[in-house]
Amino acid sequence: MALTLTMPPVQPGQDAVALFEAHRAAIRRQKLTANLLLLGGFLVMLFWSIDVSRFWPESLIAGVPRIFEYFGSVMPTLQWDLLFAGANAEGRFPQGSIGFWYNDFWTYLSLIWETILMAITSTLIATALAVVLSFLAARNLTPAPWVGVVARRFLEFCRGVPEILFALVFVFAVGIGPLAGILAITIHATGALGKLFSEVNENASMRPVDGLTAVGGTWAQRMRYGVLPQVLPNFTSYALWRFEINVRAAAVVGFVGGGGIGQELNHVISFYSDDRVTAVLILVVLTVTLIDLVSERARHALIGKESLK
């Protein structure tokens, strides 16, 4: 029997306190049963997933050293005395120097720059598309219910398919290179941002929109003047956050030919598996961290400015 929080009315002659304590005990018993059932269900799922993924202690113990083994093989061999040694007459660095390890430094750097540009381009295009689609998709703003349904399904499709899959398709369609990667990231980011934006739109006040309807404004004018000023700070913050994600995505789509540093990383992993892997990895991690830090600062500054108002 399911109990409600409201207890039956106290009848004359009954003690309210005793009645309440009995009611409270019953409710606590009921909650305990529910929690135990939940815990049981959780444990079943946990062991099931361990079984499926073979997350056994033995395979972990066997696997972990292999990870270190791999990293050992891609570690650079550096010698203290040669660390900052310059290039010789033929322009070659001695083995054991940073110069030797990062022989292709400028190639890596230009590829990282390409990766960042890919992220910027796709974030800008995706944001523009997402803004328009989010107005169509928001339940309170959509020009017609069916338009809203179509826009929402479209956005779901865009964010439902992972970038890497889109990238594979576009590499096939437009060839290897950053264009394929940009297209892939743009579509996925449009879906993700469009959903977030439309949720922001659904919380916007409709009063200014009513005001602009009464002025004789078109749908586009109502969105531009009535909604956009309200939601713009939130949109900017989400777009910056998406930029951080897109930098990482741009580094990954290269693995399937989508351009950027990922393509080089894939290359050095599959062909050499030597210290060049760490050389690239370190640069990628540094770039991503740096961008995350800067963008996070910008977002907090934005939010801080908002909350002061």
């Binding site: 009063r207 200014p208 009513d210 005001g211 602009l212 309807t213 009464a214 002025v215 004789g216 404004g217 078109t218 586009a220 004018q221 531009r224 003047y225 009535g226 000023p229 309200q230 713009l232």
Partner: protein
């Protein structure tokens, strides 16, 4: 001339406005009174089609308003400006942009999306603001203004529409008595000086009596009184307000400051 013919509005089968037949000649200042839920807002919002009538007709100079669509409908909305109880301005835009948004009907897609307003439109907006004593805050963000100031900005926006009719849905219900007087004086001045038809929903009886040529009393969606302030007896008013009579009369008392000898001109010192 605005003609209502058996205008009716139902929300989920419940009648909010019921068989309203009226005619309002151009240039009249009309006050609509009635208790909460009587259908005043719905009636007003059917005029500019923020609400669509369920049945009946509305005609303006012989044109059937209830049948307008698309650009014709937007043109009509541009012709009958509206002022709201909660101002319905865009708080995050500056005052000037809010006022110039009253010109949006005359803009195409490109100029309005880019926010390109002409110097002439700017001048027009500043003049409208100045008329309401608000030109000095033109570049201020709108939500930093007080309620009374925002309502004056909203009236300036309505003015730049160059409307024929001005609809006001409880324009002073969220204002203090002094600001209420400023706003009502401005509406009256627009009516007398510019010859605009003003239709105004009012909660307090005294304000309606003081400012309006004609009072329309509504009860449960029906028009139960239509006449001059002098014709509206206390008994009649009590019936219109029903259980809210005490409040409506009481508010009338507290806002007697509104009842100056004559409505003052709209140019108000700030």
């Amino acid at each position: 001339m605005l003609e209502f013919r058996k205008l009716t509005k139902e929300f989920n089968g419940k009648r909010a406005v019921s068989d309203v037949t009226l005619s309002i000649p151009a240039g009249q200042m009309v006050g609509v009174i009635g208790r909460s839920g009587a259908g005043k807002s719905t009636l007003l919002r059917m005029i500019n089609r923020l609400n669509d009538a369920s049945s009946g007709q509305l005609l303006h100079e012989g044109r059937e308003i209830t049948a307008l669509t698309g650009r014709d409908l937007r043109q009509w909305r541009n012709e009958c400006a509206m002022v709201f109880q909660q101002f319905n301005l865009v708080g995050r835009l500056n005052v000037l942009t809010n006022v110039m948004s009253g010109r949006l009907f005359h803009h195409g897609f490109g100029t309005s999306m880019l926010g390109l307003f002409s110097a002439r439109e700017r001048a027009f907006a500043i003049r409208a603001l100045d008329r309401l004593g608000m030109a000095h805050v033109a570049l201020q963000q709108t939500d930093t203004l007080s309620g009374g100031q925002q309502q004056r900005v909203a009236i300036a926006r309505a003015l730049v529409q160059e409307p024929k009719i001005l609809l006001a849905d409880e324009p002073i219900a969220s204002l203090d008595p002094l600001n209420a007087k400023i706003v009502m004086d401005a509406l009256r001045a627009i009516n007398t000086e510019d010859g605009l038809t003003v239709i105004c929903n009012l909660h307090t009886l005294d304000t309606a009596r003081h400012y309006c040529d004609r009072i329309i009393g509504m009860q449960d969606g029906r028009v139960v009184f239509d006449g001059t302030a002098a014709q509206l007896t206390d008994r009649m008013a009590r019936e219109i307000y029903g259980a809210e009579a005490a409040e409506a009369f009481n508010e009338a008392l507290t806002s007697t400051s509104l009842g100056g000898a004559r409505p003052a001109p709209a140019v108000v010192a700030v």
